[in-house]
């Protein structure tokens, strides 16, 4: 009974958020809202920007994260790796606004000199890499050592063993972990606040400010006009739907995958 009570207490906030977002956001959603730019009452640029941002972040963050995780799992038996692991853990818990400010001062002010989707993607990558590295390491370590030995004993090189035997064995966990990390990062606001700035127009180029859903929600919710605040609710619903779809889709897909 106590356990059931705890479950209910835990679910109540989630359901109340969902309820509020649906009640306030659903009336906003129509084709114009989803497709038009900011001057015509739509959040098209924000959806487009979020997709670009997710794509760029994945492109930068996933390879780096997976390679880090493979290193930690397969060659991580030394003190450098244990330092790396510690730093990685700290980065996972790092306040995201600090990541944003750091990206702003180094990339936006220092390197590029302008707000840019790239700056946002790099900031988000710093959130993504540690999570992906950690889940990669965990799923690689679940592969029994006997499988590695079998491959090595056949005369396969170490890299070949990792690439063709260990990684395929850990594939389910790798895909699930990586996509969940992407879904989490897609909702981050603080790192992009100071790096892509926001934009009412559709994508303008890689050296121009860009919009994104979390950012649009933040900006619109601070406006005095009730109809613009309502747009923020609509955008929240869209963001939640994207993240939930990713989440549930991944879980269903990984459940039907071969049981390991």
């Amino acid at each position: 009974m106590l356990c059931l009570l705890c479950v209910i207490i835990a679910i109540v906030p989630l359901l109340s958020i969902l309820y509020e977002v649906i009640v306030r956001g659903a009336p906003e959603i129509n084709l114009n809202f989803l497709a038009a730019d900011g001057l015509h009452g739509g959040i098209g640029p924000a959806i487009q920007g979020s997709l670009i941002l997710i794509g760029l972040t994945s492109l930068i963050g996933i390879p780096l994260g997976i390679l880090s995780g493979v290193y930690l799992a397969e060659f991580g038996n030394n003190k450098y790796a244990s330092w790396m692991r510690t730093i990685n853990d700290i980065l996972t818990e790092f306040p995201s606004i600090v990541v944003g400010i750091t990206a702003y001062s180094i990339i936006v002010v220092g390197l590029i000199g302008t707000y840019s989707p790239f700056a946002g993607a790099i900031a988000l990558s710093f959130m993504l890499i540690p999570i992906v590295a950690r889940t990669t390491e965990e799923s690689m370590k679940l592969v029994p050592n006997s499988v590695r030995e079998a491959s090595m004993a056949l005369g396969a090189h170490r890299w070949r063993t990792i690439l063709s035997v260990v990684v395929p064995s850990a594939k389910g966990g790798l895909i699930t972990g990586t996509l969940l990390a992407v879904a989490r990062v897609a909702g981050e606001t603080a790192p992009i606040l100071l790096t892509i700035l926001g934009n009412s127009y559709f994508f303008q180029g890689f050296n121009q400010p860009m919009d994104a859903l979390p950012l649009r929600i933040f900006l619109n919710s601070r406006m005095p006009q009730p109809e613009i605040q309502a747009q923020a609710w609509g955008a929240s619903l869209v963001l939640i739907l994207i993240v939930l779809t990713l989440n549930i889709g991944i879980r269903l897909a990984s459940r039907s995958r071969s049981p390991r």
Partner: protein, 265 residues
């Protein structure tokens, strides 16, 4: 240079495939093998027996340089394969492992691969498949491992879907697909039931016409049944080595006699 055969006495072995010379091995600071001299005869089955922890598995793993994959592991001395030291600095351990195959204690087929791919795995992983008919090699290897008739209709099924004894024969097929010169077996039947065990034992005896086999076993009857030569190890040292019949029927060492009559171990 003390040679294994001479060192141990009067065994005369003209065809020696492998030979360990003053071989010692460590895990960190713990010495697991002390100056082992054993000669492995070509096209024969050599059994290594001894109580748990005597270093027999470690010895086996030094023969294809698998021992050094354990963090902190170290080896000194020599192991000759066709007269050449596999621990010489210019030797690539990967090439040693292609010539000296291994079958492990627990069947370990690749979980993500089909039966067919498991057998073909060695050729694919080592890039040795060039110009060879993969189907033909898979069929021959499975036939030689006496598994073909049982799995020929299920080649696309996962390698882990068959029984433990079949999985172990699959692992043997995987090893022989690479046409190694020596096959090392680390207690290959210890996880199997008696029927599966007797199948593997028959297989081991039939393999020696094409390969040189070294088998580690804790089962003395098994050693007596399948092997031509037997080495008895105790606490990391070689106690006795000779023809299987003489080791079992007329052991020179009192320790060996005690072990094979079941007084300890």
């Amino acid at each position: 240079m003390p040679v294994g055969a001479d060192h141990q006495g009067d065994i005369i072995m003209p065809n020696m495939k492998m030979e360990s010379i003053e071989l010692s091995a460590w895990f960190g600071t713990k010495q697991a093998l002390k100056d082992i001299n054993i000669s492995v005869k070509t096209n024969a089955v050599t059994a290594i027996i001894g109580p748990s922890g005597c270093g027999k598995s470690t010895f086996l793993r030094t023969l294809n340089r698998m021992h050094e994959l354990v963090p902190g592991a170290k080896t000194t001395g020599q192991v000759l394969l066709d007269g050449k030291n596999i621990y010489a600095p210019e030797v690539d351990p990967v090439m040693v492992r292609r010539r000296v195959g291994m079958v492990f204690q627990k069947p370990n087929p690749f979980p993500t691969m089909s039966i067919y791919d498991n057998v073909a795995a060695g050729l694919k992983l080592t890039g040795a498949r060039k110009g060879q008919d993969l189907d033909e090699i898979v069929r021959k290897s499975l036939q030689q491992a006496t598994l073909w008739d049982e799995v020929k209709d299920d080649l696309k099924k996962p390698g882990t879907s068959i029984s433990g004894g079949q999985q172990q024969r699959l692992c043997i097929a995987r090893a022989i697909a690479l046409q190694p010169e020596v096959i090392l077996m680390d207690e290959p039947c210890s996880a199997l039931d008696p029927i599966a065990t007797s199948k593997i034992e028959e297989l081991i005896v039939s393999l020696k016409s094409d390969y040189t086999v070294v088998i580690v076993t804790h089962n003395m009857q098994q050693a007596a049944r399948v092997s031509d030569l037997t080495a008895f190890m105790y606490l990391g040292q070689l106690v006795e080595f000779g023809e299987t019949t003489s080791v079992f029927e007329n052991p020179k060492s009192e320790l060996t006699e005690k072990y094979i009559t079941g007084q300890f171990g």
